[in-house]
Every structure is written in C-alpha cells, then in structure tokens.
Amino acid sequence: MMPDLGPVLLSLHLAAVTTVILLVIGVPLAYWLATTQARLKPVVEAVTALPLVLPPTVIGFYLLILMNPSAPLGAAWVSLTGGTLSFSFAGLVFASAIYSLPFMVQPLQSAFEAVGRGPMEAAAALRASRLDAIWTVLLPQSARGILTACVLTFAHTIGEFGVVLMVGGNIPERTRVISIAIYEHVESVEYAEAHILSAGLLVFSFVTLVGVYALNRSYRLRVS
C-alpha cells in the first residue's frame, strides 16, 4: 500500500519557500550581527536563538494569537488576501520562517565572522564599496556557510511538527505536511504508512547532516 505523496510534496514546497525567504532575511541580519558593536546585539542574538529553546507549542500559541483575524497581523492579511493566515499554507510559511530562523542566521553569522574584517578592508582599499565587497568578497568567501545554512533550514523545516500542528492544523493539500501525516497514521494504527514516511525522513535527515558535516570539516557548526 503506497502512502499519499501529498504530504511529501507539501513539505518540500514549504521547506523550499521558507529557505528562500529566510536567505533573503538572514543574510542582512547575520551580516549586521557579525559586524555590529551595538549594545543591542546580544538582545537581537537572543531573540534570533529563542526558537531553539522554546517549546514549539509556545511559538505556535503566540503565532496563532498573532494570526487571528481580530489581531492586527491577521486582520491585515485577511484584508489583503481575503483568506485567513492561520490554517493556510501562507501561515505555515510564516511560522516556519520564525521557527527555522536560527538555523539560517547562526551558520551565516559564523561564516561571516570567520571571513572577518581583513578581506573586507582589503576590498575597500581597492575601491570596492561596502555592497560591492559584500557581494564579491564576503558572500563568495562564505559560500560553505551559506550552503550549510540553507541545507539546515530546509531540513529543519521539513522536520518540524509542533508549530505546524498548532498553526496549520491538519488540512490535506494545504497544511498536512510529512510530520503531521506520520502522526495521523500512528494515531490510526496505520503503521505501514507511518514506517514508510518515517524511514524516508530519517534517511533524508541523516544524509543531509552527513553532507553538512563533510562540508564543514574545517569549522564547527553552532547549530547541531
């Protein structure tokens, strides 16, 4: 008996969108964290790392409140799109982006810090503006860190459960991702289906992590 492929595709879709969005947000945020001497830096770092230590239910709970159509964010979304943010794919993306933020920002920050000021100063002394130097020196020299951040974010998004369940519920084709589908199969004592999805996820995660560690033999990951 072949399980429904829907949850698998949905998970991949969600992880891809979340990774792209977090890359766009994460690069500037990590650059700021890597270079700033602002007093606010530890606070921002702590906020960024919160999803690592909070139970998913806490994040899910607050996100639900935030996404409620009577709350400002939820209301803005309703007036913009006509649908609610909670129990939708967009809501899942929003929740995943918050939940997976540290998995993008921390490896990026480590990579930028490893490159350091030296090459950036050398670029500036060769007439390269800050943006030019970020684009042509910092990012290429951080290539491994960027790849690591993306892979970890992607894998972690696929593996999340609690936040997704609270924010998205279990709606086929919209919010039923792999982890939810496994939970449901187990609840319904459909162990064969649960086995296929679970083993698939296990192998996927293992291969991903082996790839990440092989890529980063030279420096330790902060998130692992």
Partner: protein, 366 residues
Amino acid sequence: MSADRLSLDIVLARQTFSLKVREDVALEGVTAVFGPSGSGKTTLLRAIAGLEAQGEGRIGFGETVWQDSAAGVFVPAHQRAVAYVFQDARLFSHLDVQGNLDFAAKRARKAGRSPDMGAAIATFGIEGLLERRAVSLSGGESRRVALARAVLSCPDLMLLDEPLTGLDRAARRDILPFLKSLPEHSGCPVLYVSHDLEEVAALASGIVVMEAGRVLANGPVAEIGRSLDLGPLSEGAGPASLIEATVARIDADSGLMALEAGGETLLLPNVAGARQGDKLRLFIDARDVAIAVERPGPMSIRNVLPARVGRIVSSDTAADALVDLKIGSELIRAQITRHALSELKLETGQQVFALMKSVRLAGDFR
C-alpha cells in the same frame, strides 16, 4: 612624481593607547613611518586609509580633504584613491592570482583610471603565478602579487604596512628592489610603515619617526638620521649611524669601491649594479666603530677617518658610552666602554680617528 603633501591633525584614543598626530608630511618617493612596535604607525596608516572610523580630526591629501570631523566629513576608504598593502598581503582566497589583479583593475577603470595589467605582471615577475590560488603562494610571492594588485588600483597614494614582515632574509632581499621602484611604477608617493631602520635606510627619502602615539621627528632621512639616534627605536638594533655617500670610483681589481661621504673617502666591497655618481645609504653599527686618539699604524681595517668628537653620552649605570664623531658634514656614532672613554680622556671638540670595522650598504640583508 608629484610632490604631494599629507596634512594630518588626528586624535584617536583607545583603551590602552592614544594616537595624537599633528604634522605636515611632504611626500616624495618613499616616505617611511618609522618607530618601535606599538608606537601607532599602523593605526596612523589605517586612519589615513579611512579604515579607522573612530579617529577625530582632519586629514588632507594635497587639495583633497579626506576627513574633517568638525565639518562632519569622512570620505570612506573606497573613495580615497589609496591602495593599502597589508602586512599579511590579504589576497582574496576565493580567487586566483589573476582574479585578484582583475578585482583591482576593474574598479580602477570604473573610477576612470587606466591600469596596465601587462606592465604590472611583468614588473613584479608574477607571470607564472596567474592561475595559482592565492592560498598556495609563498610569503614572497603573495607580497609581490599584493604589490601588483595595489599598483593596478591606480591610487594617488600607496600605503604599505611592513610588507617585509615575516619573510626570511633572502625573500626580503628579493622584494626590496620592487619596493624601491614602487613610486616609479605606481606613479604615486608611497608611505611605508617599518620598524626596521635598515629597510628605511634602503628605501625612504623622507621619514616620520613615531614613538608612543606621537611623532618625534619628520623630514628627510639623512637630516633626521643626523639629529636623532634612530638605532634604539629599531627592532633588535642598537645605536647606529645612517649616512649618505656617493660612489667616486669603482675598482674591479680589488673588488672595492670608493665612496665619498662628508668630504672623506670610505672603501666598500663592490655592489652589483652600482655606478660612479650613484648615491648610496650606508649603515654603520655603533659597536663596529672604534676610536683612536692618534692615527694607528698598519692594520687590516680599511676605513680609518679623521673625526672630531661631538656629543658624549655616558651614565654611571651603563658600561658603555656613546660618542658622536663628526666626519666632515656627516655624523657617525661610536659605542665604546666607559673605561675606554676615561682612559682616552675624550672630550668634545677633540681630534681623533674613527675606525670602522664594518660598513654596510643599507638594505643589503646579508
């Protein structure tokens, strides 16, 4: 070569160190920023390059103002038309050598300059390195690539931060000629940070002497060398003299050349490439200079010159004393024991003979 000027009036305070420089520096050819480690040389250079945003004050280069804190002006590093050669070369590790050179040339062209790639590669002899990764280069190779890259940036001012540090003597001897000809190849003045008096003597025409974040002296090397004993400020060196001499005769048979200095003649082993009329800098360690009150008899030392005793520095706590010897218009320092000083009854103004056991060409690291 343009005779540019740097006008500096900067204050930079750190927790353990403060830099306070108010100086007008004439730039022609190579100007050395010289002083012991921790005297603020690199910080000064970084401030000039625009890499020290915390510095306060004013930095003017010729007619251009790079910084004027009072007026809220701070031209960022990339708009200052300086090239900075770092102590550790700082080649871009994600690019090969050609990529590093292109990085500079591309941005120079964008700024309306015309870098000459072929000339830079030939000048620094890096034809064979172009496809190598930056990380695979030896110390000497990466310095040469860094210099070529800086030249290709077509700056108005070249800033060099101890580019010979960490190189062995052979590599230093190889790089030195490149540094010497840098003003010519880059078409701009060079500001050169060094804690090594010999490097300075070999390269620089002007010198800014620094100690503890302040400028002690600033002017032509030969002049400053006469008025100030730079030896003790040099890393690992004692009192020494720095004199300028002109090649008068070259004798191929004896392998010696005669040099004119302060109206007297010195004999030195021939130097490859030296020609009559060349001006050379000589470096004489004060411990290699002995004093005789009468002209000594036949001996192996070739350089024995009549001299007049100048200032004598001796203290009751040190075994050695330092005696300035005036030879014509030049000044040579001799380090002798206090015991010898009292036995010879040396006094300022006395006529004596200076015996120089070793006279070296500055920068001839052998």
